[in-house]
């Protein structure tokens, strides 16, 4: 590295770091390391491509409008659709997101901004949330069956019950990732805001939260991705595997795509296997749309300090 690398005259460029140690970047060790990292990324992406190709090839014959236009059928696999399941999943995701995101972010705000770490109850909450992330989804199903579908709330196996259970399932993920996002906002911003006379809440609402949106968006992507594919808790609370009417309110019975997929995939007839692969593609499409909204938000607010 020469002296001219160290001296930079003129306005600082946006985003790109000035000093990269470029001279050393071509050493074999550097190249090897970089290649290793690329390999890591590549493994993940290759796997995804293979999986998608596998599913697409399997399901291609049935990727047609009938999937959306027709209801499920046990007897006519060639024309069976999954309208009720598609709508059910959409409603369920909307409900889950509306319940889990506000609660999750607010809980993260509390834990990061207000909670005194030395208090035992705050430490307990922390440990608790981390533990809940490891509880199998089946157990949430049992919890839901005992306390939400029956028991005190007695809602029955309807959309709102499913949304609550899935929201509880993904809440730990949202809280943990939102906490990290909030924690990453530099204190200088908070101090500046407070110094200007803002209250704590104003600081959070107008400074901290907007700057932690990217991390929160990532967390919500991962969390909702998990929720959209969950079948086990829904089956346990008694969500139907076969129904052919669309939900009209959050208190209606419903079915969801993962259940429909699993249902079709366990049938022996080849036509159903094809159908279930096609539905997997539909599920991934819905997921992509959901994710793009979050990704758009994330990119808009992304900044490097």
């Amino acid at each position: 590295m020469t002296a001219t690398d160290l001296i930079h005259v003129g306005p600082a460029p946006e985003q790109k770091p000035v000093f990269t140690g470029r001279g050393h970047d071509r050493s074999p060790k550097e190249r090897g390391f970089r290649a290793l990292l690329v390999a890591c990324l590549a493994i993940g992406i290759v796997f995804l491509v293979v999986l998608l190709a596998y599913v697409l090839i399997e399901g291609w014959p049935r990727l047609d409008g009938a999937l959306f236009g027709n209801q499920a059928s046990q007897l006519r696999p060639a024309t069976a659709g999954a309208q009720a399941a598609i709508l059910g999943t959409l409603w369920l995701m909307a409900g889950t997101a509306l319940i889990s995101l506000p609660i999750g972010v607010l809980a993260a705000v509390y834990l990061e901004e207000y909670a005194d770490r030395d208090k035992w109850y705050n430490r307990l909450i922390e440990l608790n949330i981390q533990n809940l992330a490891a509880v199998p989804s089946v157990v949430y199903g049992i919890l839901g069956l005992g306390l939400i579908v029956r028991g005190p709330l007695s809602l029955g196996p309807v959309l709102i019950a499913g949304a609550i259970i899935l929201a509880l399932l993904i809440l730990p993920v949202i809280i943990i990732s939102s906490r990290e996002a909030i924690r990453a906002v530099p204190d200088s911003l908070r101090d500046g805001s407070l110094a200007l006379g803002a209250t704590r809440w104003q600081t959070i609402w107008r400074t901290v939260l907007p700057n932690s949106i990217p991390g929160i968006a990532t967390g919500s992507i991962l969390a909702l991705s998990r929720a959209i594919g969950e079948a086990a808790p829904l089956i346990i609370i008694g969500v139907a595997g076969f129904l052919t009417f669309n939900p009209a309110s959050m208190f209606d019975r419903f079915t969801a795509l993962p259940i429909q997929i699993y249902s079709y995939a366990s049938r022996p007839q080849e036509a159903f296997i094809v159908l279930s692969s096609a539905l997997i593609v539909v599920l991934l499409l819905i997921l992509l749309v959901m994710n793009s909204v979050a990704i758009y938000i994330r990119n808009k607010y992304q900044r490097r300090w």
Binding site: A240, N246, R253, R267, Q269
Partner: protein
Amino acid sequence: MKISPTSRRRAPFAAASAAALVLVACGSGNDPENATAEGGDESSEAALSGEVVIDGSSTVFPLTSAAAELFQAENPEVQVSVGQSGTGGGFEKFCAGETDISDASRAIEEDEIAACEQNGITQDEFAIANDGLTVIVSTENDWATCLTVEQLNAIWAPDSTVSSWNQVDPSFPDEPLALAGPGTDSGTFDYFTDVINGEEGASRTDYQASEDDNVIVQAVSGSKGGLGYLGYTYYEQNSDTLKALEVDSGSGCVAPSPETVQDGSYAPLGRQLFIYPSAEALQRPEVEAFVSFYIENVDEITEAAGFIGLNEEQKAALQEQFDSLVG
């Protein structure tokens, strides 16, 4: 570093809420239930509406779903939903009054009957289809065509150490035995172990177990010495990659087929599949219409769903049972 003005931040949020509201507003559902119906038995003329809730065995699930589909074609205002929580799970919900009909691949048990009685649920057992548990081997298996019940017992008994085909019968080649079968939670497992090993749940534990019959098909068809058992429908759908063995229970080798299962000659692996409606639910016209439809069209339904139907005797008994439960 600029602090984002709040208005910019609000825009995406507003868009998301608007989208959510739109979703809520345009649920293209049917009208919610209003249980009016004119006439009890003339269901084809009346505009039946309401809901029928069914849950239970995953084996019976395709059959009942087929019935629901055909029924709803004629009665579009009735909302039928069918779940597959398993026979035990289905009975639990049924005896708690949460479902109208329970699907079952085994008969209801004592404690379940007690639970139903405790909650005032009167039920009856309707056998609506036959099933034959089929012993399957790979198509590469060219030495075996028939096994006796004793041989099956020797293979599957809890303390069995049989690991190759020539231990089953000396005339068979020395091919390693690769066992596959349903997991302990399926009615198929319960029934097979009961009739072959003499006690429900009594089985060797070192076989490839799966709740998904497609997996059993794959395991057996992919291995020359494979042996497994599953419901007849799954064998029939995969008859190009599987071979069914005949079973000899003392009076000669009998191959599984709709006929031999129906007339009872495919023993002891023939069994029945059930639905359990509750008398209380049958008070509602839409439930009564559904069960009545199911019974009257049981042939068409079992054939459409690929199951083995009832013989004449069984059908007559079914009709009688229905009449007495309703009447």
